[in-house]
C-alpha cells in the first residue's frame, strides 16, 4: 500500500507542477510540452485507479495525436512571443480580484454547509486480481450505453465534415497526375493523321 501511495503522490505532484507551468511559461511550445507531462501523469494516476484502458487511450490519443495538433496550430499561427503577455500587468489587479471573490465564495459555501462530504465516500473495495477494465468498458459500452456510443460516432463524423468545410481549399492551376484520365486516353484524341505530299517523290 505504501508504495502505491508514494507513486500516487509523486505523479500527483508532477501533474500539479506541470499543469501550473502550462499556464505560466512564456513560450506556447513549452506549454504544450508541459501539457503532455500533465496528461502522462494523469494516465499514471488512472492506472493506479485500475482504469488501464482509459490510461492507454489518454496516452495514445491525447499525447500522441491531440498534442501534435496543438503543435501544428502553434506553427500555423506563428505566435509572436513578445506579445503573448501584453496586458498581463494591466489586467492583473482585476484578475486577482475576481479570483479572490471566487475563492471567498467557495469558502463561504464550504463553511456554511460544513459537511465536506468525505465521510460519505467510503474507501472502495479493492479490485480483484482478474479485474479487466477494458472488458468492463466493453460490456457497458455496447449494451447499456449503445445510444451514446453511436452518438460519439456522429460527433466524429461532424468533426470530419467541419474540418473539410473549414480548412480545405481547392487551388487553381495545380498540375497533378490523374490516373483515370491517363487510362482513358485514346489515340483518337491525341493523334491526328494528316495527308501530306512527300518531298522528292513524284506524284503519278
Amino acid at each position: 500500500m505504501l508504495i502505491q501511495e508514494i507513486i500516487f503522490y509523486a505523479f500527483s505532484i508532477i501533474m500539479i507542477v506541470a499543469a501550473t507551468l502550462v499556464i505560466s511559461v512564456r513560450n506556447p511550445v513549452y506549454s504544450v510540452l508541459y501539457l503532455i507531462l500533465t496528461f502522462f501523469s494523469a494516465a499514471a494516476l488512472w492506472i493506479l485507479l485500475g482504469a488501464e484502458f482509459l490510461a492507454i487511450i489518454l496516452v495514445l490519443v491525447y499525447v500522441g495525436a491531440v498534442m501534435v495538433l496543438f503543435l501544428f496550430v502553434l506553427m500555423m499561427l506563428n505566435v509572436d512571443l513578445s506579445r503573448v503577455n501584453e496586458g498581463f500587468v494591466k489586467n492583473l489587479p482585476l484578475g486577482l480580484l475576481v479570483a479572490a471573490i471566487m475563492l471567498a465564495e467557495i469558502l463561504v459555501v464550504l463553511w456554511y454547509k460544513g459537511r465536506t462530504g468525505i465521510e460519505d465516500f467510503p474507501i472502495p473495495e479493492p479490485l480483484s486480481a482478474d479485474y479487466s477494465n477494458t472488458a468492463e468498458i466493453g460490456q457497458r459500452l455496447f449494451t447499456q450505453y449503445l445510444w451514446p456510443f453511436e452518438l460519439a460516432g456522429i460527433v466524429l463524423l461532424v468533426a470530419i465534415v467541419a474540418a473539410i468545410a473549414l480548412t480545405m481549399r481547392k487551388r487553381e492551376g495545380v498540375k497533378t497526375q490523374s490516373i483515370p484520365k491517363q487510362v482513358q486516353a485514346d489515340k483518337r484524341d491525341r493523334v491526328k493523321l494528316i495527308d501530306m505530299p512527300v518531298e522528292g517523290v513524284e506524284d503519278k
Binding site: 462530504g117 445510444w147 460527433v155 461532424v158 465534415v161 473549414l166
Partner: protein
C-alpha cells in the same frame, strides 16, 4: 437494444439516417443542382415532424418512455419542443437560401451541419442520462461553431466563431466538472436515479452542491445569461445572419429542455439552492439585457441583448419550481424562438450583394421601400416588446403569473419595469422604419418562398396571440 427502442427513438434515427444520406447525395449532385439538397433537407424535416407527431404506435405515449438502457426518454415535452425545432429550422433554411447564394456560402456543408446541429438539439431534448446530455450538447455546439465559421474569409465571422468556440468549450468543461461531482455524490449518471439518490440521502452534501453550481454556470453560459453573456453580442453580430437566426432559436429550445432535465428531473431535490442562483442570473439578465440594448446601433447586437433579456424571463418561470412555471417558461421559449426567427428573417431579407444590413440606419424608411415587410417587422418587434394581443405579451404574462403565485411579487415588478424600458428600443426601430426618410429609396424584394414564410411567421405571432389557448395548454400538459 430491441425493436421497441428503435421505434421510441424514431425521430432521431430518421434525422440521423437522412443527414448521412444527404452527405452521400451531395457527392453526386453537381453545383448547379444545389436546390435539390435544399429540397431534400426540407423533406427530411417534414418526415421527422410526421414521425414525431405520430407518436409511438405500440405504446400509450402520454407517459415518458425510456429507451436504450435508460439513456433516452421520449415524453410530451420533448415531442413538442422537437416539432417546433423542425419548424424553426425549416424557416431558417428557406430564409437563408437567397442569402447563401449572394454571400458565396451556398455549399452543402451548410445543410449537413445544420441537420447535425438539429440532431444534437433533439438528442439533448430527449436525454435521460448525463452522458447523452453532454453528447447532444457537443454535437449541437460543434456543428454551430463550424456554421459560424463557414464564411471563411470574413475576419469578423472567424473571430465570432473563435469566441463562441472557446467560451462554449469552457461551458462544456464546467458542465462536465459539475456532472462528475454529481456522479461522485450520487453514484449514477441516469437522471431518475440521481433524483432518487438525492431523495434518499438528503441535499446537504457539499460535493452535490458544488456540482450544482458548476451545472448552473454551464447552463447560464449556454443560455447566454448575465454574467456569462459576453459571447452573445459578438457571436450574433459576427455570424452570418442565417446562422445567427439558427443560434437564437433551436439551441434555446434545447437549452430549455436541458435545464428541465438537469435542474428539475435530476436535481429537483435541490430546488431551494438553485432557485437563488437562477433568480440572480435572471434578474441581472433582464436588467442588463434591456439597458444595453438601448445603446446599440447595430441591429444584430441589439437583438442579441434582447435575447439575453428574454432568456432572463425564461429563468423567472423556471425558478418558480412549479409545473405552471415550467409550462410558462416553455411557452415563452417557443414563442421567443418564433419571434426571433422572424426578426432575423428580416435582417436576412435586408442583406444583399455581400453586405449585411446590420446597422439600425439601414432600416430607415423601410416602409417606403417595402411596406409589407415593414409591417411584418413591426408586428414582430411589437410582439418582442410584449404588446398585448400579440403572443409575446401572453408569454410574459404567464411567466409573471407563475412568479407571483409563488409569492415573489417584487420580482414580477422588477421584470415589468425593465420590460417597459426595453420596449423603447423595439419602438425606435419601428420609428426608423415609418417616420425616417430612407437613404436609399430603391424598393427591395425577395423570392416568393421567402415572402410567404416571413409573412406566415409574422402572422403566426398574431394568431398565436389571439388563439394562444391550445399551445399554452400543450405546454402546461407537458409537466
Amino acid at each position: 437494444m430491441n425493436w421497441q427502442d428503435l421505434q421510441v427513438a424514431a425521430p432521431e434515427i430518421i434525422v440521423l439516417l437522412m443527414a448521412c444520406g444527404l452527405l452521400i447525395l451531395d457527392l453526386f449532385v453537381s453545383e448547379q443542382r444545389r436546390g435539390l439538397i435544399h429540397l431534400v433537407s426540407l423533406l427530411i424535416l417534414a418526415l421527422a415532424a410526421i414521425i414525431t407527431l405520430r407518436g409511438i404506435p405500440a405504446i400509450d405515449a402520454v407517459t415518458p418512455v425510456m429507451a436504450f438502457g435508460d439513456t433516452y426518454v421520449r415524453d410530451s415535452m420533448g415531442d413538442l419542443l422537437k416539432v417546433f425545432a423542425y419548424l424553426l429550422m425549416a424557416m431558417m433554411l428557406i430564409y437563408s437560401r437567397h442569402y447563401l447564394r449572394q454571400f458565396d456560402m451556398y455549399r452543402s456543408e451548410y445543410y449537413a451541419l445544420a441537420l447535425f446541429a438539429l440532431l444534437g438539439a433533439m438528442v439533448l431534448i430527449s436525454a435521460a442520462s448525463m452522458i447523452t446530455i453532454y453528447l447532444g450538447l457537443e454535437l449541437m455546439s460543434l456543428s454551430l461553431y463550424a456554421m459560424v465559421a463557414l464564411k471563411r474569409d470574413d475576419k469578423v465571422a472567424t473571430e465570432a466563431a473563435m469566441k463562441y468556440f472557446i467560451l462554449g468549450s469552457m461551458a462544456s468543461g464546467m458542465l462536465l466538472y459539475g456532472m462528475s461531482m454529481i456522479y461522485g455524490a450520487t453514484g449514477s449518471l441516469q437522471i431518475h436515479e440521481i433524483s432518487q439518490a438525492i431523495a434518499n440521502q438528503g441535499s446537504d452534501n457539499m460535493i452535490l452542491l458544488l456540482g450544482l453550481v458548476f451545472t448552473v454556470v454551464a447552463l447560464a453560459f449556454k443560455f447566454g445569461l448575465v454574467p456569462f453573456h459576453m459571447w452573445v453580442p459578438d457571436v450574433y453580430q459576427g455570424a452570418p445572419a442565417p446562422v445567427t437566426l439558427f443560434i437564437s432559436s433551436v439551441p434555446k429550445l434545447a437549452a430549455f429542455a436541458m435545464t428541465i432535465r438537469l435542474l428539475q428531473d435530476s436535481l429537483g431535490g435541490l430546488h431551494g439552492d438553485w432557485q437563488g442562483m437562477l433568480l440572480m442570473v435572471g434578474v441581472l439578465s433582464i436588467a442588463l439585457g434591456n439597458l444595453a440594448a438601448l445603446a446599440q446601433s447595430n441591429i444584430k447586437r441589439m437583438l442579441a441583448y434582447s435575447t439575453i433579456a428574454h432568456m432572463g424571463f425564461v429563468m423567472l418561470g423556471l425558478l418558480s419550481g412549479t409545473p405552471e412555471g415550467y409550462g410558462a417558461s416553455m411557452f415563452y421559449v417557443i414563442t421567443y424562438a418564433l419571434m426571433s426567427a422572424g426578426a432575423f428573417g428580416v435582417v436576412i431579407f435586408m442583406s444583399s450583394k455581400g453586405i449585411e444590413a446590420d446597422n439600425l440606419d439601414d432600416y430607415k424608411g423601410l416602409n417606403q421601400r417595402n411596406p409589407w415587410f415593414a409591417a411584418m417587422f413591426a408586428l414582430l418587434l411589437l410582439s418582442l416588446a410584449g404588446v398585448p394581443v400579440l403572443v409575446g405579451f401572453f408569454a410574459k404574462w404567464l411567466v409573471l403569473q407563475a412568479v407571483v403565485n409563488v409569492g415573489m411579487t417584487w420580482l414580477a415588478l422588477v421584470a415589468v419595469i425593465f420590460s417597459v424600458i426595453g420596449a423603447f428600443y423595439y419602438l425606435r426601430v419601428i420609428k426608423l422604419m415609418y417616420f425616417d426618410k430612407a437613404d436609399i429609396e430603391t424598393p427591395i424584394s425577395a423570392p416568393s418562398d421567402f415572402r410567404a414564410v416571413l409573412t406566415g411567421n409574422a402572422l403566426l405571432v398574431l394568431v398565436l396571440g389571439i388563439f394562444s389557448g391550445p399551445l399554452i395548454a400543450a405546454c402546461m400538459a407537458a409537466f
